[in-house]
């Protein structure tokens, strides 16, 4: 077991420093991770009041909600899919929490129920997009419609509701978990971030996730189970989206099945701004976090400049198109020759 294969002259490449592509990746990831900083500088210069504890915390709370919602989008994109059911899942969680709490359910039971429903949504997404060869775009779109419809039927379109005080506190910029001066929403996001990154980097599951996104046929032969990976990816995504829906209930205090709607566009924006390739097989949630911060601050900036929601959409759209032309050019066919 120890035959070392002898080479004639080691090719020049052997002795040379790190390869080009990695350097290129590194350069662009430096940009990605610096962009929130740059954005923050711009924001503090243009919008008074941001540079305060409350200002920063309210940004972070908004980012937490988007960040949680974008976990699923990131992983779905990394395996070469997309998740259009995130807004519906957010809405489902939001309505269940507020209406059931108003009806006197215990908070623990509600969370359990929401978790079970989320797992069901994720599992269905994963199974359907694996077993029948359906495109995740179609599957998750159908699932979105199914979930929203069911919620409306179950609640009769009732939009009243109530939330426990600690949920409201969790998203309050002046809220503080265990007296550490950080709102619970932000703590929840940071914990999720740590777990998600650890899974991506340190686990067998994480490696298989990248492999599946990179080349499904090869992944199968390398003992990856695509169905299992997809089910987990969409389930984790749905769970995180539900958490976002729960936090949103803290803002409004009432039930709204459509409260998640803006998050379709904004989660995809965050992923793309982070530079995760829509072709799959690459990227990381860390990049999405940068994207989340930039997107949140950009929106805040637009609001601060008193640009209306419609114009905000236009600006975000332009930003995305610009970014896609910059990032979307990777993995050219020429590289595979």
């Amino acid at each position: 077991m120890s035959t070392a294969i002898t080479q004639g002259d080691a090719p020049v490449a052997a002795a040379s420093p790190p390869p080009p592509k990695r350097r290129a990746v590194r350069a662009s990831s430096v940009l990605v991770y610096l962009s929130p900083v740059a954005m923050f500088v711009v924001l503090t210069l243009t919008t008074p009041g941001v540079l305060s504890t409350t200002g920063v915390m309210s940004l972070l709370v908004l980012a937490s909600v988007l960040g949680l919602a974008a976990v699923g989008q990131t992983w779905a994109v990394m395996i070469g899919g997309i998740d259009l059911s995130i807004p519906a899942t957010i809405g489902m969680a939001n309505v269940l929490v507020t209406t059931l709490y108003a009806e006197g359910w215990g908070f623990g039971r509600i969370v359990l129920l929401v978790a079970v429903v989320s797992l069901a949504i994720g599992t269905a997404n994963g199974l359907l997009s694996s077993l029948f060869g359906l495109h995740p775009l179609v599957v998750t779109l159908g699932m979105a419609s199914l979930v929203t419809g069911s919620v409306l039927v179950a609640t009769d379109g009732n939009t009243g509701g109530d939330v426990p005080g600690f949920v409201t506190d969790a998203v309050s910029p002046v809220g503080s978990l265990w007296g550490i001066g950080v709102p619970a929403a932000v703590v929840l996001w940071l914990l999720t971030l740590a777990v998600v990154l650890a899974v991506e980097r340190r686990t067998v599951f994480g490696r298989r996730l990248y492999a599946l996104g990179s080349n499904e046929r090869a992944a199968r032969l390398a003992l990856v189970r695509p169905v299992m990976i997809r089910v987990v990816v969409y389930s984790v995504g749905a769970l995180c989206a539900s958490a976002a829906g729960l936090l949103l209930a803290g803002f409004s205090g009432g039930a709204s099945v459509s409260i998640g709607d803006p998050y379709l566009f904004s989660t995809i924006t965050a992923v793309v701004v982070g530079g995760t390739s829509l072709l799959g097989g690459a990227g990381t949630y860390a990049r999405t976090v940068a994207g989340v911060l930039v997107t949140t601050m950009f929106t805040t900036l637009l609001v601060g400049l008193e640009i209306g929601p419609n114009m905000q959409q236009v600006m975000l759209g332009i930003a995305i198109l610009l970014l896609i032309t910059v990032y979307g050019r990777d993995r050219h066919v020429a590289q595979r020759l």
């Binding site: 120890s2 070392a4 294969i5 004639g8 090719p11 592509k21 390398a222 003992l223 993995r331």
Partner: protein, 532 residues
């Protein structure tokens, strides 16, 4: 300006340097291809051959130096530009899109925004004619290439080049997936073109092919051009020593002592196996500790057989069984086969093997990660140590686990794929043409490695498209023909002629000689000898 005394070279490279970032792939590269010649380009894995090919095809432009076409310096800015100079290329990686039909693959790129891809009647006929002259059925043009074998995909890429007008055809290891009969037809075709004054740049690791085909050869070593030699000087020994810089490198590879394994000690067996609907069933025993070669022309069942043995493809009838601690367990799928100690190295490295967006290390370790993990979390340091060990055992260059896999040369990428399954330390290792595009030195060392593994108790089943390879490293060879094992050769019977004959469904002593009516006459059969 005076006209040069000799005809200008079709294509010339002068003082070329090419860097991929800090990696110097070519330095001071010189190459000159005369009209009407087949010019060999040889060198070890990673010596820069494919880089030369990409520069000539307009995929990339050199960092420094000049490309001349017909004596004039040109900038090949795109593949279309190369095409305008009538340079066509068959790349090392058989890029065929499964999304469209064979014929659309052939004419891909001839369309434009306002122009449809040319696949009218005349074009279709031209393509069919090329495909048929290569001995493949025209039907491969109609369907999606999804189910095509590697050899058939290669035929498509060859057709894609040959239907275009060309003065220089570049073949970058385009013969490595072809079986003998297709290869001979291709060589005959190239001969005709050569007589009409067209030129071919021929990249190959197969010394027998080079001997048959080339007029001159240029040798690359570590990105540098060592020199160009004429046909009579271009003996395998000379080329090999130029490639490696060692004088002893040209020694012919000695055929390893075939070892008789106990016929009763079987680890893997096929019982009444049927590979295709109409094909007759057969039995096949794989003996413990042997290297069993699988030979045969493409499409005759060899590839199906290894896939069936590995559990990747179900057999149409019969069963495959593996010995597990003394009792026979039926192989029902590749996951279950893996749990029973069988590992499978797939043949189509682009489609079935590599993860283009991952690093070399991740590509290599993916299948064995669970072994280095607790509760799903792997120990990065142990994984890395194992990856490094496997990389140096196989001589992967550059020796850098964090290198992107797309930055490896074809042969080195192939080594990584083999390493992925060597790292699994299986009881039975099933390899589907594992050394495609791997250079001779590495091959020789790999044969030794397989020997060592089998001495330690591993069993190896290896499909190869090269008869020499089967003879060099296998104890027994099962030759497939018409979707069944036609013959299993061993000991004295295992000769070049016997394998060749069996490929065409004949036994050596049969009166019709080695090639039956089923196949074309081998291009140059007297010239074939074991030259590894």
């Amino acid at each position: 300006m005076s006209t040069p005394p000799i005809e200008p070279a079709v294509v010339e490279l002068a003082g070329i340097t090419h860097r991929y970032g800090p990696t110097v792939a070519l330095s001071d590269c010189r190459l000159s291809i005369a009209p009407g010649e087949v010019h060999g380009l040889v060198g070890e894995n990673g010596s820069g051959k494919s880089t030369v090919v990409k520069l000539l095809s307009g995929i990339m432009r050199p960092t420094e130096g000049e490309v001349r076409v017909g004596g004039r310096a040109v900038e090949l800015r795109s593949p279309a530009a190369a095409q305008r100079h009538e340079i066509v290329t068959v790349f090392q990686e058989t890029l065929v899109s499964d999304e469209c039909s064979g014929i659309d693959n052939v004419f891909a790129g001839t369309d434009g925004i306002f122009r449809r891809a040319r696949s009218g009647r005349a074009e279709r006929q031209a393509a069919e004619q090329v495909v048929q002259s290569l001995g493949a059925p025209a039907s491969i043009l109609q369907s999606s290439p999804h189910h095509l074998s590697l050899a058939e995909r290669q035929v498509l890429t060859l057709t894609r080049a040959l239907v275009r007008p060309w003065r220089l055809l570049i073949l970058d290891e385009a013969t490595s997936a072809l079986d003998l009969s297709t290869r001979d037809r291709l060589f005959a075709l190239l001969d005709d073109h050569r007589r009409e004054g067209r030129s071919v740049l021929f990249v190959s690791h197969r010394m027998d092919e080079l001997e048959i085909l080339i007029d001159r050869a240029t040798v690359q070593r570590s990105g540098r051009t060592v020199g160009t030699v004429d046909k009579d000087e271009a003996t395998p020994a000379r080329l090999l020593s130029m490639m490696s810089g060692r004088s002893d490198a040209g020694e012919h590879h000695v055929r390893a002592e075939a070892r008789a394994r106990k016929a009763s000690d079987v680890v893997l067996r096929g019982v009444e196996l049927g590979l295709a609907a109409q094909a007759p069933a057969f039995d096949l025993d794989v003996r413990r500790g042997e290297i069993l070669g699988i030979g045969g022309l493409d499409g005759q069942g060899g590839s199906h057989l290894v896939e069936v043995l590995a559990g990747v493809r179900p057999s149409t009838s019969g069963r495959v069984e593996v010995d597990r601690d003394g009792s026979w367990t039926r192989v029902t799928g590749y996951r279950q086969a893996f749990r029973s100690g069988i590992a499978y190295v797939p043949g189509k490295r682009q489609e079935e093997g590599l993860f283009p967006s991952l690093t070399v290390g991740d590509n290599l370790s993916l299948a064995t990660l669970p072994r280095y993990s607790r509760v799903g979390v792997f120990r990065a340091s142990s994984v890395l140590a194992r990856v490094r060990e496997e990389m140096s055992r196989l001589g992967v260059v550059p020796h850098d686990p964090s290198y992107p896999i797309t930055g490896l040369s074809g042969g080195n990428a192939q080594k990584v794929l083999v390493g992925r399954w060597l790292a699994a330390e299986p009881d039975v290792l099933i390899l589907n043409d594992p050394l495609r595009g791997v250079d001779l030195g590495t091959k020789r060392d790999f044969y030794a490695l397989l020997r060592e593994l089998t001495e330690a108790g591993t069993t190896v089943v290896m499909l190869s498209t090269e008869i020499e390879e089967l003879l060099t490293c296998c104890d027994r060879v099962a030759v497939c023909q018409a979707e069944r094992v036609f013959d299993v050769l061993e000991g004295e019977e295992l000769t070049y002629d016997a394998v060749l004959a069996a490929m065409f469904g004949r036994h050596v002593d049969a009166p019709a000689g080695p090639t039956g009516p089923a196949g074309p006459a081998p291009h140059d059969s007297h010239d074939r000898k074991v030259t590894l």
